[in-house]
């Protein structure tokens, strides 16, 4: 009989909390779809401020703008965290053409982030096409020296998730210039990381690592249509001359900031749950998808909690990280200071995969925490959230070191992401208001559940 009573009590408690949670998620989604500012903040960031490359005026304006908006939410604390960031400037519009006899064919290119410039009058040389870093190494110095190397391995369309295609392709962009430089190449042209055939070059960081400055060779991305055409031309004219000119420049590091806002926990203010995105962007579009969306979604998580008068047990902190794109200095600084002050981070979530329809979560945690989160799947079903997979959470939250921390990345639909990623069309019009808002609701819901059930 006693057992029966306990069982009944337990069942009652479970259904009560299930109902409470269902109700709370419903309120969260309703608020997100009818009463939050994320879309309007994104409009301002994108259309009033524009791109936010680290060290740019836009980045500094974005720091002040988001700080002001967070202050308006009536949080318990809003502050800036200083961090030194790279300042790389693209310079004049890049120029590229292939020369066959007297005919010049122009190509849309853009300097890769942190690339060095070409000589002032540009660089002209033979160009050799490879599909991979391995193929480059097989060619060796003899065939590479004095040439421009053209990396032209397309993203593999067979992957269902486009991020897998990106991951298995981006080594050309990140390491191509370093590896080709070691073999005496003069420059590097990389096929844009874009599954679609179009005319937009997509930038992104190239990493010279410890290559001495004077040995660094210039690197640019070429549009996917451009890459197809250049490859075709090379088949017909293997000796064609390729010319490109870019005047990008790296200046000394400058001071910038992570932007931080908090709702203090009522029971465990010392336990911290972070939600964030990165405030910097590349300089070609206005960074609406990457990662304006993630920033405003994270801000709206706290906005939703304030609007619902939800008092979290643990401290909920939004962090807008500076400089994810070309250095992750903001993420590193945040992690370093958190460790130094022995902050206890129990949870961190990042949204940095675009503002598309949310599908689920990518989770980094121990088995127990994973099982707990996956156990909430049914609560998310009415909101069409179905992916609870283990995998990479986010670059900026990577350096947070707390023991047993659970890290989560929002997982939106990925099909369109690389149409816009790091390109001139990453602009406000590519973001759908509802998709953005559903993302913020999905993030807030998981934060609520974790806050409620963390022990």
């Amino acid at each position: 009989m006693k057992n029966l009573i306990y069982t009944l009590l337990f069942v009652t408690a479970v259904s009560w909390s299930q109902t409470t949670d269902e109700h709370m998620l419903k309120q969260i989604y309703k608020t997100a779809l009818t009463d939050v500012n994320c879309y309007y903040w994104l409009d301002d960031l994108s259309n009033k401020i524009g791109h936010r490359l680290s060290g740019s005026d836009g980045a500094e304006k974005a720091v002040l703008y988001t700080k002001t908006q967070l202050e308006k939410l009536g949080l318990d604390r809003v502050y800036l965290q200083e961090v030194m960031v790279p300042k790389w400037v693209r310079g004049a519009q890049e120029v590229a053409y292939a020369e066959v006899g007297k005919t010049k064919t122009s190509f849309p290119i853009c300097a890769l982030g942190l690339s060095v410039a070409t000589p002032k009058n540009g660089l002209k040389a033979s160009i050799i096409e490879v599909k991979s870093l391995e193929e480059l190494k097989v060619l060796g110095e003899e065939k590479v020296r004095g040439k421009i190397v053209f990396f032209n391995r397309p993203m593999n369309p067979e992957y269902i998730e486009t991020f897998h295609a990106y991951g298995s392709c981006v080594d050309q962009r990140s390491s191509g210039a370093r590896e080709a430089g070691l073999l005496g190449a003069l420059g590097v042209i990389v096929r844009s990381m874009n599954l679609r055939l179009d005319d937009l070059p997509h930038t992104g960081m190239t990493n010279y690592k410890d290559t001495p400055l004077e040995q660094r060779i210039p690197a640019a991305a070429i549009s996917t249509n451009g890459a197809e055409l250049l490859s075709k031309m090379l088949k017909d004219n293997p000796n064609l001359q390729f010319y490109f000119n870019q005047s990008c420049e790296t200046f000394p590091d400058v001071k910038s900031y992570n932007v931080i806002g908090e709702i203090k926990g009522t029971e465990h203010p010392e336990r911290i749950m972070v939600v964030g995105g990165h405030l910097d962007s590349w300089d070609l579009g206005d960074g609406s998808q990457d990662d304006g969306a993630g920033c405003v979604q994270s801000m709206s998580v706290l906005e939703i909690f304030k609007k619902l008068h939800y008092k979290p047990k643990n401290t909920i902190r939004v962090v807008l990280f500076m400089n994810e794109e070309n250095g992750v200095k903001g993420g590193l600084r945040y992690g370093e200071l958190a460790s130094a002050s022995k902050e206890n981070h129990i949870f961190a979530m990042e949204s940095d995969s675009g503002g598309f329809s949310p599908r689920g979560f990518s989770i980094e945690s121990d088995d127990e925490s994973y099982a707990k989160i996956a156990g909430w799947k049914n609560l998310f079903e009415p909101y069409l959230i179905h992916i609870f997979e283990r995998g990479h959470s986010g670059t900026d939250i990577g350096p947070i070191q707390s023991e047993k921390i659970v890290k989560v990345g929002l997982h939106p639909d990925s099909q369109r992401y690389f149409d816009y990623h790091h390109a001139a069309n990453d602009t406000f019009d590519s973001v759908n208001k509802r998709e953005l808002e559903l993302g913020t609701a999905t993030m807030a819901s998981l934060m609520y559940l974790f806050d409620t059930y963390f022990k």
Copy 2:
């Protein structure tokens, strides 16, 4: 022992078929993502032919174009099925403004499909705002006679699926003119069925039912921004005069066609499995989402089977239905002829919810068939297909009457659909190639499974 052997045989058979099915779905998705024509067909339909309103030149060109493309696939039979369809023509660009004193404020409007014209010089009258048909009826003839009625109930953003918001809002558009006309109104202006605030009016059919021609009043849609502005102006100036002018005209019905292609079943050629979309569109954009996408996806289902040399047991038939938008004459004709010739349809699938990332299926069937289909859910998991819900399948396949037929609608992500639906921005650039292809793979996979396991 005998039981054990049976069990082992059964388990072996189940795992063998599971592996075979997994392999087949992998091949289907791979083919769709790398080697089908649906996106290029859609480019032609949208950019070379343009809109395909029933009775228009575009509709007739689309019939010939898709028939030719189906013939190139090497199907067993390609043919046209005659059907008489309405011919409604929009006429000159519509004009609308509100007049307060001497100030005129213009509004973007478009005539609703099948609407009558205003008098030649337009219609000017007081305008009265209501939120619903019920509110209109409460106002009654006394307050409505001689006025223009402005239906301004927004789609409810709280629904997660936008089709639910549409379904609970569209009565204003479909019945508003009929109901207002009965109360002596002179015309009707309806807020566009669009969750987004923008400047595009969205057309769609208005249904006068048996209202005598001379008693029909003209009806137009106004953009959502326009509706917001007009509502605000009416609060300040309840007596403002509203003017609109549209010259749309209905001609006698004309001959058109459903376009049909078949792969004959190897075991049961008499059993028919249909896959289709509707070839007609509205006339404002080029109908890429509604429903060019569904047509080319359906065509590519058969293309995939041909490319994989898959020989279906049952006959697989693609049907591109004419005239879904303003009459469903193609669907009705197809159903009528199927009944008359006692064709045995075991399955019908329609794609008419846009070319966005596929999420699952909306299924109309008996419990047993539903359970069977839902049992394949795990096979679809690698492709992020997770919705197996009971619900409306498709308008064109509705009239097919075979006993125990299973009807399925492809269920894509719905968040962006009503941004484009029936508006001038329903154009090719709104469709993402991969999303379209994933849709066709999802359709082909379910067709394959049903064909394989139907008994």
